[in-house]
Subunit: 150 residues, 2 copies
DNA sequence: GAAACTCGGACTGATTTGGTCGCATATTCA
DNA sequence: TGAATATGCGACCAAATCAGTCCGAGTTTC
């Protein structure tokens, strides 16, 4: 129903948290989990995925933990979500190979692919450094005026 | 993982099909299902939902079927999806009541709500009358320039 | 060497999704 | 009038996905 998984939510929260503490030492998965009431083991696996995707640096051992691998201004929500949940497609029939196995005569695939691109672009524009409770975004109504004029 | 359900896909295909045959008699669920290889019973239930949402008119009995209740230019993809899958939220914690039961200190809810609005607007702009294989859409890259300038 | 971390697969229960079945009602037409 | 063909709707089931736990590693610090 067009929603993010909880894992993706957790991942975004963790990344935002790390972005707000770039100065500090590395933060452990438990530290972050406790701060938001997230199940620690669940968050641990999520952070490992973000690590493997190159978004985080990790340090093993006591005093270890995670740290952003890049400037928080350069990390998009899209990257975080994709690292956790894999590639996102709005159409349920689309696969990585790009084809629609189910209905050969599917006629909505192409228009929805465009929608998919729009959503991707929106998510790519959102950087974790910008995620504040009151983000300075251009009113979304305005943006809509630039889509589907045809 | 941010994807439409198959039911929503089917619904959009059916609506598009009906939009292309406004001139004809009412089309039965089976007619449409056969045209795209959709399980007839599954599509029947979807069409009933679209009917209850006021997007379709139905006629019982032999020679019966479905017909668009409104001008296809006035029906958005958003309406179709919402009629089938219910209200869509990008955040997994958001409920109809608007609150995040899980993590009280959830800090990404507000930024994601804005993303949600953007997606809604995009889907509302897409009318089923416009859904062609090669839709005339403004390049999505352009639209992204209007989001998140902060 | 103990403590506190990360690393990663295996596993389980809950929820959602995709689809079917059956029965009731409505309409057409012979 | 009654058979054929529609919609209307709830119940049901199997498969997939999601959310979360468990456990046994390896690493670093002290």
């Amino acid at each position: 129903m067009l929603k993010l998984t909880k894992k993706a939510d957790y991942g975004l929260m963790a990344m935002k948290h790390l972005a707000e503490h770039v100065d500090r030492e590395a933060l452990s998965a438990k530290d972050i989990a406790d701060a938001y009431g997230i199940p620690p083991q669940a968050l641990a696996k999520i952070l490992q995925r973000l690590m493997r995707a190159g978004l985080l640096e990790s340090q093993c051992g006591i005093k270890g933990g995670y740290r952003l691998a890049r400037d928080p201004h350069s990390i998009s929500a899209y990257e975080v979500i994709q690292a956790i949940d894999g590639p996102l497609f709005i159409t349920s029939c689309t696969t990585l190979r790009g084809e629609c196995g189910q209905s050969l005569r599917c006629t909505v695939r192409e228009p929805l692919r465009k929608v998919n691109q729009s959503i991707e672009e929106v998510l790519k524009r959102i950087r974790i450094a910008h995620m504040r409770e009151e983000p300075e975004m251009v009113e979304t109504k305005q943006l809509a005026d630039y889509v589907m004029i045809s």
